[in-house]
Structure formats: C-alpha cells, structure tokens
C-alpha cells in the first residue's frame, strides 16, 4: 500500500505541474460562470433602468401606489399628472421610457385600466402593473357600501386545490421546508458534480495507463512496485485529482452562487443525506476508474482503438438514457432497473434520491451490495488485464485476448 501512495503522489504531482490540467481546472468554472453571467449581462440591463410612471390620479390612490412600489421594490418612478387619457396616449408615443396610467372614475366603473407605455418599456411591465389590481378592487368594493364581512368574503374568492392526505397521515406536522425540492436537489447536485468530475479524471487514468504503455515506462516502474500497486496508485492519485477539481470548482462556484441567489445553499448542502450521496459518487468513481485503468493498459495507440474499447469508454454515459424516465417517475420500473445495474446505479441513485421525498432504504441497501460486489469483481478483473496489458508493447489488445487474460 505504501508503494501505491508513492505512485499516487507522483501522479498527482505530475498532473498538478502539467499546464493543461491547471488550465482545465480553472477554465471549466470560468466557462460555467461565463455561460451564467453573459445572458444576464445582455438581458439584465433594462431591468435596472427606472421607468417613469405617470398617473392621472382621479381616484386618490397615488399614495397607496407609491407605498406598493416601495414594498415591492419595483423600478418605478411615480409621477402624478393632470393629462387627459387622450393626451397620455400621444405623450406615450413620444417618450420611450415612460408609462401613462389613467386611474379615472371611468376606468374604475368599466373595470379596465388602460396602460400607455413607451416603446422601450419591457412587456414584463404589465406583470408589475397587475399589483394595481388589489388597491383598485378595494376601491370598487368600498364604493358598493358593503359590510366588512361581505367585503372579506368577496375579496377572498374561491380556490380549488389538491388535498395532501399523505401529510395529514403524518399528523400534518411536516414543516414547510420539507416541501422545498431544493433541499434534496442541492446535495444531489453536489454528488453529481463529484461523480462527473471524478469520471472525467477517470478518463485521464485511461490516458495515463495507455501513455505508460506507449512511453514504455511500465517495465521500469514494475521493477520497483507490483502491477497491483501501480494500478491502485493510479486510481488513488486520480481520485485525489478529481476531488481537487471539485474543491476548486465549488470554492469558486459556491460563494458566487450564494452571493447571486438567496438560497441557503450551505445549509441545504451539509445534511446527513449528503454522506450517502457522496458514497454513491465515490463508488461510481471506483467502478469506472478500474475499468478505465484496465482498458488503458490494453491500448497503445489511441487512434486505432477498436470499437470494443470505445464502447467500454461510453459506459459512464449510460445513465443518460435513464434521465427522462427518472424525472417522469423516480420510483418507476425503469428507475428501479437502473438502480440495480452497477454501471448506472450511482448516477441513477443520485438522480432518484434528489427527487424522492421518502428514501427506499431497502432498495438502496440491496443496490449498494450489488454495486460494491461489482466494484470488487471489476477491480479483480482490471488487475488481471492491467498486469498483462501494460507490458504488451507494440499493439492494442483484442477483446479475445482480454477475455483470455481474465481467465488466465
């Protein structure tokens, strides 16, 4: 094991000093940030601009409106004007960034308030203008001379909604927080990032093993360590690199997210459930790392890789086909099938657990046993392939040869 750590240390050091690794390490979050911020830069400008809102206040609600604008933090600058409705229409055509709203008795009686907006004012202004409905409605009701009780009944209206009998069974005591889907999705997303990142660095194991073979270093290294130690060292080393990647990404990403959004990300992230999700992500890494290191040891020339090796390299992307069905029904039969196939289990579980409110612990348990048994088997097989493959110079191994090594 000590030798494995020496190999791991070397792989980490070698990559950390490699320019392309550093560049990808820093550029990936930069790209994400770019994709996140650039649309905001283009779309966000108008929102910040103050809109001059002119109100013909026949109804005497100007003060209420100003208060509302303040409460809702709208970018409105409210002016009171004496212009008639016709004049307002003409004025709106002239001014680009102004809105004219005639709050007249007539409008109140008709129940329709016209909004004259300038050319530059966004369509979304109308949604903001909906908030005028409440005070105007109140005004309508006031004019009807109804009792307070009657007013309340009318103001309340009638709504139809789904009864949540499940929560009632639990005594109806569930906190509102538990309904927040983000509470589950955030740890899930975190685990997914670990899985993604470690599978990507897992691909680097493939390159590393194949390079070792191509550059013919393997034999020198194997005069000091056993093939098993070399393989383990690579797996550990690239795992650390993958985790470093995650830490750097999150180190940059989390503060930005926390600053840009109001979500209590840190609070949601560090929950006990995260432990299981991270175990799943690590299990996924170990499985694919073992496959990659073994396949890497059978490939010397990447340009002439056979279909077989290419197919194996696609295995980590297998869970993609489950995304649709899982989002549709996280407890459906397809989701369940995906949970028991070792190659898809980590990603499928991360998706399912992010969506399911009640975790199916028995299913999780059985699936974990299957997954770890598969990891053990794959590691064993990888060891056998690696041992022979890494020293076979000059050609790529055929699937037939690999099959034979497995049983050697």
């Amino acid at each position: 094991m000590r030798n494995s750590f020496k190999v791991a240390k070397w792989e980490i050091k070698r990559n950390m000093m490699n320019k392309s690794f550093i560049i990808s390490l820093l550029l990936t979050p930069a790209f994400f940030a770019l994709f996140y911020f650039v649309p905001q830069l283009f779309g966000g400008n108008d929102e910040k601009k103050m809109i001059d809102v002119f109100i013909a206040d026949e109804l005497g609600v100007a003060q209420d409106i100003e208060q509302l604008v303040k409460d809702e933090q709208l970018h409105w600058k409210v002016h009171v004007t004496d212009l008639s409705e016709d004049e307002m229409g003409q004025q709106a055509a002239l001014e680009e960034n102004a809105v004219y709203i005639p709050l007249t008795e007539q409008a109140l009686n008709d129940g329709v308030v016209q909004v004259y907006k300038g050319e530059d004012v966004d369509e979304s202004f109308l949604f903001e203008a909906y908030m005028l409905e409440a005070p105007l409605r109140q005004l309508q009701l006031d004019q009807l001379d109804l009792s307070d009780e009657q007013k309340n009944v009318i103001a309340k209206g009638v709504s139809v909604q789904q009864a949540d009998w499940q929560e009632l069974d639990n005594g109806g005591e569930l906190l509102e927080d538990d309904n927040d889907p983000l509470k589950q999705i955030i740890p899930g997303a975190f685990a997914a990032i670990i899985l993604f990142s470690s599978v990507m660095t897992g691909m680097m194991i493939f390159t590393s093993a194949s390079q070792e073979k191509k550059e013919k270093v393997a034999e020198i290294i194997l005069s000091s360590v056993t093939p098993g130690e070399l393989m383990q060292g690579k797996i550990i080393g690239y795992f650390v690199l993958g985790i470093t990647q995650v830490i750097v990404w999150l180190g940059i990403g989390l503060p930005i997210l926390a600053w840009k959004s109001d979500l209590p990300i840190i609070e949601y992230l560090f929950v006990p459930q995260l432990a299981l999700l991270v175990i799943l992500a690590i299990a996924g890494y170990l499985l694919f790392a073992a496959i990659f290191v073994a396949i890497g040891a059978t490939v010397e020339d990447m340009t002439s890789t056979s279909n077989f090796q290419g197919l194996v390299m696609m295995l980590p992307f297998l869970p993609l086909i489950f995304i649709g069905p899982i989002i549709g029904d996280p407890s459906g039969i397809i989701a369940k099938i995906g949970s028991f196939i070792p190659f898809t289990a980590p990603a499928v579980w991360i998706m399912r657990l992010s969506l399911l409110e009640e975790w199916p612990w028995i299913e999780i348990g059985i699936s974990l046993v299957v997954l770890f048994a598969a990891i053990w088997l794959v590691m064993k097989a990888a060891g056998k392939i690696f041992k022979i493959g890494i020293l076979m110079y000059g050609k790529n191994a055929t699937p037939k040869e690999i099959w034979k090594w497995l049983w050697a």
């Binding site: 000093m17 550059e215 013919k216 270093v217």
Partner: protein, 310 residues
C-alpha cells in the same frame, strides 16, 4: 565471491512454444555476467522472469539475501530493453521518483543524481524536460535511474544498444567501476566486442537453451580456435584433407579453414602443399562475434567443436 542470484532450471512457454528451457546460472558479487544470444533467443524473457515481471512456468529464481520466492526490489537496479521515461517531467524529478520507489533517501539520491549527471556529460540538464532529451541522453538518465539507489544487483538488458561509440565507452567504464565497487551485474547484449571487454563470465542461449557457459577465459580457450583465411582458387576437398582442419567454408575465391584446438600454427603452416594457390593468407582466432553469428545462423561449428572436445 558471494553469490547474489541463482537461477535454476528456468522454463517459460507462451502458448505451445517453449521460449526458454532449463536455464541455470548464478551471479556473484563484484562480477559482470553476460547473457548472450541472438534476437528471440530468450534473453529478455529470462531477465523478466528474474525481475518477477513474468512468471516462469518452472524453475527457481533465488536472491540470496532474502527468502525464496521473494524479490528484494529495493536492492535491484533494472534497465529494461524497452526503454522509456515519462515525457512531460523534469529529469531530476524522474530520477528522484525512481529513487523514492526504491525507498532510497531523497537527499542522498539528489546528490548522487547530480554526480552521475555530471559524470555522464549531462551536467546542468537536471531541470530539462525529459522530452527535450536525445535518445542517448534519455538512455543515460535511465541508466542513472537504475543505479541511483546503490543496488546490490544490477540487471541491464541491452545496455549498449542505441548508443554512439563514445557513450558506449562511458557506459562500459561505468559498469566496470560499479562491479569493482562490489555490485553484481547481469547484462544481456548483442555487442560481442563490449562483452568480450568487460565480462567475467558469459552464458549464451539460443532458442531458449544454453549453448555456451563459462568464464571469458575458458570460453576463449575452448572455442576461440585459429582459423586460416586463404584467397586463391582452391578446391575444398584439398583443404579438408589438411591436418587439424575441422571445417572449411568457401565463398568465391576466399576459403576459411577452421582449425581445431590441438593445432600448432607454425607446424601447420609448414605442411601446406605447394600446389595451393595463395594470393593472400591470414591466420587469426575466431572471435566471440563469430561464435555468436555461428550460433545464430545454425552453422553448428560450436557443436562440432564441442563434440571434438568431448
């Protein structure tokens, strides 16, 4: 001299084909032992079996400092035939990694690395990236990597191949020096002149089996007999009838007459018939090189020779 390594009855097959069969020899402290043989004879297979990189089907590899079946990796230096180094690392980092894998103290390794880099003409190259080195330079770096941890046993698979004559000389004197300081050295080579100059003992294999074994002096006495090269038109039958002749080879008007061990050269020259056509005549010993070629091309003089001595 203390024996460091013993190989006994080593055998290895790939598929149905026997690559090496019943190979036995030992390597002693302070001695240079050569494993010789043409391409595909089984030299690298033998060496890889010793290093535990291949598992022999039969036979024993015993390192005398430790228990049977155990390979004292930290006490062995190994320069494989298939040479390579990580490309995108600095020379010093590469050497220190190899030292670290052998559990050798890093500080001492650094000093030794600088010493050897200077000695092999690579002074100031420690911070250069490996990919910038020429083939010969890279081979020197690998050589340093294999001796950085002061191994008790140094195994060199074709150490001279791919080197220019100057570097060959440097390697030769370095290997000699290591042996003098007590390192047991096992090397394989094609270059007979090199082997002749530095080895104490040799072991020649062909088709996976031993053909010649012994100290350099014994082998030379036994096999490096005289041969007489004559230019002129002569019939082979006439030459074969001369005394002490074991074999005659003819190519155009050049005849090579191989003489056996008992020959006394002046006497033999005296009894040459006057009817022989001689444009040129020379007498010299069969070199190790010729013995090697002989074996590689299956001309069997060795068998004849050894049969006549048996």
């Amino acid at each position: 001299m203390e024996t460091i390594l013993t190989v006994e009855g080593l055998g290895k097959s790939f598929k149905e084909r026997q690559i090496v069969k019943d190979i036995s020899f030992n390597v002693k402290r302070g001695e240079i032992m050569a494993v010789l043989g043409p391409n595909g004879a089984g030299k690298s297979t033998t060496i890889r079996s010793i290093m535990g990189i291949l598992y022999p089907d039969e036979g024993i590899v015993k390192f005398h400092q430790c228990e049977a079946g155990e390979i004292p990796r930290n006490k062995i230096g190994y320069l494989p035939e298939e040479r390579g180094l990580y490309k995108n690392v600095k020379v010093m980092d590469m050497i220190l990694y190899l030292a670290e894998l052998k559990d050798y103290p890093i500080k001492k390794a650094k000093e030794r690395a600088l010493h050897y880099l200077a000695k092999l003409g690579l002074e100031g190259k420690e911070k250069v990236s490996v990919e910038e080195l020429s083939k010969g330079m890279a081979q020197k770096v690998q050589f340093i990597g294999s001796i950085i941890h002061e191994p008790e046993l140094l195994i060199l698979d074709e150490p001279f191949s791919g080197l220019d004559p100057v570097s060959q000389e440097v390697f030769k004197s370095e290997i000699k020096e290591l042996a003098q300081s007590g390192t047991a050295i096992l090397l394989s080579s094609h270059q007979m002149n090199m082997v002749e100059e530095i080895c104490d003992r040799l072991f020649m294999i062909h088709r996976g089996q031993r053909v010649i074994e012994g100290t350099m002096i014994d082998v030379k006495n036994e096999y490096a007999n005289f041969k007489c090269t004559i230019r002129g038109e002569n019939e082979a039958a006439v030459l074969e009838r001369l005394s002490h002749v074991s074999r005659v080879e003819q190519k155009g008007d050049v005849s090579i007459v191989y003489l056996n061990q008992e020959v006394v050269v002046p006497q033999w020259l005296k009894q040459l018939p006057e009817t022989l056509s001689i444009q040129e005549l020379s007498i010299d010993r069969i070199s190790l090189h010729e013995i090697f070629i002989d074996i590689a091309t299956d001309r069997h003089i060795i068998k004849e020779e050894s049969a006549s001595h048996a």
